[in-house]
Amino acid sequence: MTQGWSKKHLLGLEELTAEEITIILDRAAEFKALADSGKPKLDFLNGTAIANLFFEPSTRTRTSFSLAAKRLSADTVDFTAASSSLSKGETFIDTARNIEAMGVSQVVVRHRTPGAPQLLARHLKVPVLNAGDGTREHPTQALLDIFTIRQHRGSLAGLTVTLVGDILHSRVARSNIWGLTKLGARVIVCGPATLIPQRITELGVEVSHNLDEVLPETDCINLLRIQFERQRGAFFPSIREYAHLFGMNSERLARAKKDALILAPGPINRGVELTPAVADGDQSVIIDQVSNGLLIRMACLHLLHEYSQNN
């Protein structure tokens, strides 16, 4: 059993220690080494079944989890539902319980409501892995962001990471904040005042509403997607104005450190959060993030499997 890992479920990065986060990153690095040496398929989860319960639309994360499970030789079952679990009159908990009763050994859940994975963890016997709950946490996304930064920089300690955009509605931002600060990075959140929660500094981050000002001190820029679907009311006057103030283009990128990394959790709105030239440019590690996502999810599935086998 992996020393230092003591979690049955992976519900968020808030509850993980720096050591536990590092265990996941190291496990993902081991899987990368195996894949690079020509062994992409492993048999650690042979004979088990993983359920992907997606109560919110997702292509990328669901595919990544599904492929990660298959790389570990697990069977997978994908369940997708309309945004409301009650659409057929059955509750979310009952749906999950029924799928558990079919013999799955882990449940991966994506839900539009914060806390939905906690609810499942209370009612299911098998490990629950959070694949994004509303605007609260998206731990595997933050882990793959952190893994990608570590891959390019060796360590997180002392780096300045700026998260740009819709912090208010972003689960990616919250998970990144927990993970990055625990590993010793300085975090700046940058965006319009309407999209930055007032008390965010209590999580140990700095706030800026001026991207040009913070770029010269930034090592990594993570351009979050504007969550049009989670917004209500007028958070900013127009997309044009948003792109003018916070969009990353080549001119703006020139103000940043020469080796600054560009990250984006995707799917990106080209021309809004960043221009195609930046998205596809030399400093962009967006495609690395996608590949690393698979490794991170393999690592999480494997660690939870190991833990539940031994407890």
């Binding site: 409501t113 509303g134 919250r174 965010i200």
Partner: protein, 424 residues
């Protein structure tokens, strides 16, 4: 002739600033005397070690009948009421259909009479179907025995409608009970807007939503000469506005709930929908202001704000669960824990919030007092008896309480309604 002697209890009656050990004599459904000596009576209730007070009054209780009888009925809610020490409860009109006409009000009276536990008095709707569009038949509701008007947990967002309602109800000397929230500021909110909502990614309901609505209501009372009662006040700013308005002679009153005193928004970290209430649980600073409001009389009443919901409605994702918890059976003990034990209120002050205060708000002259000639509604409880909250033993049909397992003190021993002792 039917008489009861309650012996050697600690009589606490804020309506006459009374707090002493004595006997209480009841004859033919009326309180007739407070005395030190023993007199012959048909029934003697020994009350040594107990506190004897006017029957508690709750100004607003959700009943769910008609429409959602799986949550609660008039019979079950009134049974829960007497187990919590309440001899009079007012029911919110937000049933299905809404109590916006005389027949609907009379139905509640009839069901309460059939159940036979305690006084149940319906509150009438301000607007038809609680839709905030057209005034309900307020005069006819008064004839149907309605003591006050409210749209329940729906705020009256339309200031013009609220203005007319305050003007119109003035004719009947009945208050408007209001749930003060600016609807567009709390839309889709599930908890207090603050540090924890930010961290959890849950939609918040800011203090300002309540503060703004209370300020508006004060302006409308000033304009109309009507009377408003703000339900479940939860913020410092609301308390301050109400305090200032009262000093200026404006007819406004307010109540708070025990759960807003006992719990903070940090509880939502558990993602347990039994902490989802409206207004939301706030932070410690707001709680301190609520206590100050109780101490100086700005807040005159305590309500359980009993909001029963069947298990299947609460055991869902936090944004889909309805607001509210059951509270009648834990109200007194929570008040002891949050107000008496820390020394925030004296017994006389606390009992005032449960008896004389609500009676004043509801214009009930014969209730909330142990004066000679008053209705013989009496609550007798042992303040020192310890108990553990076991929701399965609740008389309310719903079990949505965040206090399950809590160790509390204060047990209701006997309830007398209309001069008749009720079995508990």
């Amino acid at each position: 002739m039917n008489s009861i002697l309650i012996r050697q209890g600690r009589l606490i009656d804020p309506s006459q600033k009374l707090d002493r050990t004595a006997n209480l004599f009841i004859e033919n459904g009326k309180i007739t005397r407070i005395l030190d000596e023993d007199v012959a009576a048909d029934e003697v209730i020994e009350a040594a070690g107990c506190i004897v007070t006017p029957g508690f009054i709750d100004t607003h209780v959700a009943v769910r009948e008609p429409g959602d009888e799986e949550d609660e009925t008039v019979a079950s809610v009134s049974n829960a009421a007497i187990h919590g020490g309440f001899t009079t409860i007012c029911t919110l009109p937000d049933t299905q259909p809404v109590v916006d006409n005389r027949a609907a009000a009379e139905f509640i009276h009839l069901q309460a009479e059939r159940a036979g536990y305690c006084h149940v008095s319906p509150l009438g709707a301000i607007t038809k179907n609680n839709d905030s569009e057209e005034l309900a038949e307020i005069g006819q509701l008064v004839d149907g025995g309605v003591l006050a008007f409210t749209d329940g947990k729906k705020s009256v967002a339309n200031s013009e409608i609220m203005r007319r309602a305050l003007e119109y109800t003035r004719m009947f000397n009945r208050p408007i009970f209001h749930h003060p929230q600016v609807p567009e500021m709390v839309e889709s909110g599930v908890m207090h807007e603050g540090f924890h909502s930010m961290k959890l990614g849950l939609r918040g309901m800011p203090n300002a939503a309540e503060e703004i609505m209370v300020s508006r209501d004060i302006a409308l009372v000033e304009l109309t000469g009507g009377r408003v009662h703000e339900m479940c006040i939860s913020t410092r700013a609301a308390v301050e506005h109400i305090r200032d308005a009262k000093r200026a002679g404006i007819a406004i009153s307010a109540d708070v709930t025990p759960h807003h005193l006992a719990l903070t928004d940090a509880e939502m970290e558990k993602f347990d929908t039994n902490y989802k209430v409206s207004p939301p649980l706030r932070d410690k600073d707001q709680i301190a202001a609520l206590i100050e409001g109780l101490q100086d009389g700005t807040i005159e009443a305590i309500t359980a704000d009993h909001q029963p919901h069947a298990d299947e409605k609460k055991h869902v994702e936090v944004d889909q669960a309805p607001f509210g918890i059951v509270g009648l059976e834990t109200a007194l003990s929570l008040c002891i824990k949050t107000l008496i034990d820390p020394g925030h209120l004296t017994w006389l002050q606390l009992i005032d919030k449960l008896t004389a205060g609500p009676a004043r708000i509801l214009n009930l002259e014969q209730k909330g007092t142990l004066r000679d000639g008053a209705d013989a509604d009496v609550t007798i409880f042992n303040p020192d008896e310890q108990w553990t909250v076991d929701v399965t033993k609740f008389k309310t049909l719903s079990k949505n309480s965040p206090f399950a397992g809590w160790e509390l003190r204060g047990r209701i021993k006997t309830i007398i309604v209309n001069g008749l002792p009720r079995t508990l």
